[in-house]
Assembly symmetry: D2
Amino acid sequence: MTPSTGQPRLAVAIVGAGYWGPNLIRNFSASLDCELLWVCDLSRKRAERAVGRYSTVQVTDSVDAVLNDPRVAAVAVATPTATHFELAAACLEAGKHVLIEKPLASSVSEGQKLVELAEQRGLVLMCDHTYCYTPAVRRIRQLVEDGTLGQIQYVDSVRINLGLVQSDIDVFWDLAPHDLSILDFILPEDCAPTAVAAHGADPIGAGRACVGYLTMPLTGDAIAHCHINWLSPAKIRTTIIGGSKRMVVWDDVNPAQRLSLYDKGVNLTSDLLQEARRSTMISYRVGDMTAPTLPEREALEAVVSEFVASIRERRAPLTDGHAGLRVLKILEAASRSLSKGGAVVALESTRELIALRA
Amino acid sequence: MTPSTGQPRLAVAIVGAGYWGPNLIRNFSASLDCELLWVCDLSRKRAERAVGRYSTVQVTDSVDAVLNDPRVAAVAVATPTATHFELAAACLEAGKHVLIEKPLASSVSEGQKLVELAEQRGLVLMCDHTYCYTPAVRRIRQLVEDGTLGQIQYVDSVRINLGLVQSDIDVFWDLAPHDLSILDFILPEDCAPTAVAAHGADPIGAGRACVGYLTMPLTGDAIAHCHINWLSPAKIRTTIIGGSKRMVVWDDVNPAQRLSLYDKGVNLTSDLLQEARRSTMISYRVGDMTAPTLPEREALEAVVSEFVASIRERRAPLTDGHAGLRVLKILEAASRSLSKGGAVVALESTRELIALRA
Amino acid sequence: MTPSTGQPRLAVAIVGAGYWGPNLIRNFSASLDCELLWVCDLSRKRAERAVGRYSTVQVTDSVDAVLNDPRVAAVAVATPTATHFELAAACLEAGKHVLIEKPLASSVSEGQKLVELAEQRGLVLMCDHTYCYTPAVRRIRQLVEDGTLGQIQYVDSVRINLGLVQSDIDVFWDLAPHDLSILDFILPEDCAPTAVAAHGADPIGAGRACVGYLTMPLTGDAIAHCHINWLSPAKIRTTIIGGSKRMVVWDDVNPAQRLSLYDKGVNLTSDLLQEARRSTMISYRVGDMTAPTLPEREALEAVVSEFVASIRERRAPLTDGHAGLRVLKILEAASRSLSKGGAVVALESTRELIALRA
Amino acid sequence: MTPSTGQPRLAVAIVGAGYWGPNLIRNFSASLDCELLWVCDLSRKRAERAVGRYSTVQVTDSVDAVLNDPRVAAVAVATPTATHFELAAACLEAGKHVLIEKPLASSVSEGQKLVELAEQRGLVLMCDHTYCYTPAVRRIRQLVEDGTLGQIQYVDSVRINLGLVQSDIDVFWDLAPHDLSILDFILPEDCAPTAVAAHGADPIGAGRACVGYLTMPLTGDAIAHCHINWLSPAKIRTTIIGGSKRMVVWDDVNPAQRLSLYDKGVNLTSDLLQEARRSTMISYRVGDMTAPTLPEREALEAVVSEFVASIRERRAPLTDGHAGLRVLKILEAASRSLSKGGAVVALESTRELIALRA
């Protein structure tokens, strides 16, 4: 059981042993390229429970113990969003690479500072946009990149469940980061949201939106839309992507057939401009559907691999701080739209967003 | 094979033998309470094909032949929307009761005139809001009325398919009438949309929105939303209704389990106002799901029955002209919102809408 | 509305207006190649109801009226199984071509006589094995014929529902004819059942098997199996066909994806005989799944077409009397097995069965 | 993190770290009532990999090290079936309680000896019939026990997948133990299989049956049937249980709705004996379906709890050696039937089987 390469293992600490922490512990423990040194949580008991009774991994309730340990090269942060900025900044200032849960921070300005700090120090700042590392999303990205789907026409995603009503953030900040990070990951370089309209409702009196709809016009007459909902009796996690050549449905709660690739579509013929005859100029393509086989790899294992590889290769990870920042910009605009009763908020920085993606 | 009551049969004509007409022909033919006298279509050939080679029903391409036949007491109109007003007005002026396809007319003002005309003449004007007569929707209405669902929290409906791109109307006017008429049918009397925001996209260059999202705040912190789409590779027709006591999912493409009634929900306790402790004041209810048995009756058969009954009983049908008018008001507001890039358009007449429902 | 070819229309009568009759009436009426002259039923009222109030088709309760009408060239028989032999024989003796519901007759000897009678008279005797004319089954047959599936390994079919407990026949004779006619239709020429074991149960005391299992070894180490059941709360109609190259699942209650073609399988390498190393000689193929688009044609329309075509072209129809006879032989063997408590009954005539197929 | 009771922890060793071992390690590690002392495997490397790099649990490749450790009170055995007898016997002779994977042993006589040995020594011998500890199966057992289902009419189970073709056992011995142990667990005390017919096929030339069907008449005109298959492209794990009062479908690959309880059935009226009128004496009940909420507990956690509890309380566990023995008796009879080409093999010991259950 030696590292998979000849290189020394990456010494890692995990901060936050709550909901997501145990998954990080399991995957960092399993990685032959890492040495898990610390698990840290405000509650030492929770940290102990997370590593289990038979573990040799050290637990602590002191972040300083982690930051001051010169062996620690990288820190994975899985704490509440409100603490992301302070913790990640402290890690970066202590010279540690950082893997951070979504969303990157509580605001664009905080996120911006983290990105800059990491760049100044030459450290990796990676967002744990876990879904981007699922075999399904990687395949979708590939189908976009290699032209299989053609031009993107719309992206519609639904992520609803009877979910935990959060006490500090609304349903947009809780669930939409998943969809926005996926959207950021799969859209081609010349395509990005140009505006945001957010409609929400709080029908249970929770003090924050529990049902939300996010509409985003995309460059080039396309549109993206998310339905996020904490109050749905049924668990639905479906994303449909319409393309000019093919269309794909990703149903994440159907493990037997997560991806369905349809050779279906609507075509306008070249006589498009002959307005009078237009109705006859439309043709339909109704071909076969293919469900590609996907490998069964756990996404978080790939997150850990990418984190290690980006550190070793001194390169940006696939989902770097900029990706996290782009997600934050849309979330902030969504909050602004929501506070204006659903008004459309332009993403003035779209060109900048696209530039950032390039 | 005598009429189901002692009363004489209602003499009926059908105008329009295109897409929907044959369904009307089949159901009016099967009704023992009706006598189908005419099938009329601009294309006599189409009318002939619709009745079949072995039919004794008269066909014609002349509406006047129908209107001038004194035996005809009622006319069912299944022609393109643009012709609804003129045809229905002519029928009413000729003293015939009218059953008309959705939407009632091309505009609120046209619809208003039809409603007034019918009232002046003491004639039945019924909208063929077919879905309202399905066993599933009738059961939902009953679950709302008898308090099973509790207070409505949200209504989310998705009606997408690789559908016919229409040459005269956009996806809102084509598909949303279904969802809006259902919404109108199931909402309690004190609840109605207060505003509309419509977001659409035309990514194929068809000249009109092919993908659409309709958001409608409802009285009392609730929200309604429709996703309508002509470009979806998968056919989805699902409506989820969240209530304070129970939630229901209607999946119209799953005949084995169209309705699922969930004893699930989120509750705030009475200490709601103690802001600081709010996060602990939320409780979840995760009970059983029940799929009620529904009768297998065809909706259109019930439409014909209701049409006949309302004429005989000289009363408004369940889906009368006012219902059609309420749908038109939302469609017009949606078009206004769409032309303003998704701006929220108040339905100033909400109180009026509610009044109309009462 | 002239016939689709230049030929005169085929004059047809339908005998039996009960459960299945109306479907025959609808499809023969719609065929431009047929002239529907008579609908005959013991109950004249039932015949009248079946054609409807607006029909010009003649109804009668006298089979003789039909048989003596020299215009009638062909008769479609949709009456209870017990009457098949007598009715079909009378039709053939009157010189009429016959389309008959499944099963062909009540016994092999009866069926044999019908086949001989038709051959002596040079008349078409066609079994309405409707499922064989569905787009799904035709595609499966094609996948077998063109070698896509490779060698057939097993055919497993499940046809269960809360079905009508018949008063005259058990669940084998009621439901298995569907599966057996499909099996007969799709198996390659050199493959046929060699024996039958039938296991049944009558847990409700109906006097006949209500739950049944039919096992049939096939030539070449393959196996076929049917589960038929009148007492199932869920409606399942699934057939799985394992082939050495590909496998197919036909789910008839899922219209959105009836056929799923899997590039999956288990391979033994050529070192197969090296017993000791066998466990390592197995490899798995887990490729993509494809759901082919199928046309939306109603099967019974294709039945009518094939009936007309076989008469005009003076050839055997795809599902001729011999096909019906092969089904009867298995049903009889199943009854024999059942009466012996599930003993395996050899189909001594397998070679003959295969010969019959050739 | 003290034991859940005041009692000292049960010192446990796990033998076998292959396919199933890691699941035992995870669950015994998590149990606060156990102290996991050893993980033993012929391959020390596999044992090390199974506990992970950060574990304090001792690993060994010597069973004797485990057996000779006087601290070890109980051993969980997860090795190939062929080794079960020798290993379990050695553990029992060393005075250790035993939890053993299914099937209990390779033959009835071996199993019988283990049962006797455990009884002589006053030790717990528990079979890890994991499925019996799933919330779904426990609920089904309860629905039988409390009379909700009424009299059992049939049990039909399907367990098919593209599964690992085993090198030492056929598909019956590999997969049917699941279904047989479940059947044994849920059937009421006065109901048991009376005979077995096994039909199998080896269409790939693997040297053993890869496709299998098991038919078992049950006391009282009921029937049980299993379809097990290593060559299915689709993964299906569905058990349907027909009862005189209600019917239940357990779909184990649908986590959102594993159990569906149908208020459906067929009733014969009391005039049952009036043969002539029988056909009219049948009535159908088509009521609602309910999907009960099930707790989300992992089955193996409950297995560990029951193992600990039975040792502490000096009582037989829910799935004791006798349960394992009853499964073995049916498997042996199935092999006998298979070798006789599917002949029905009486379970002469049915009365004994029932006695054993009591």
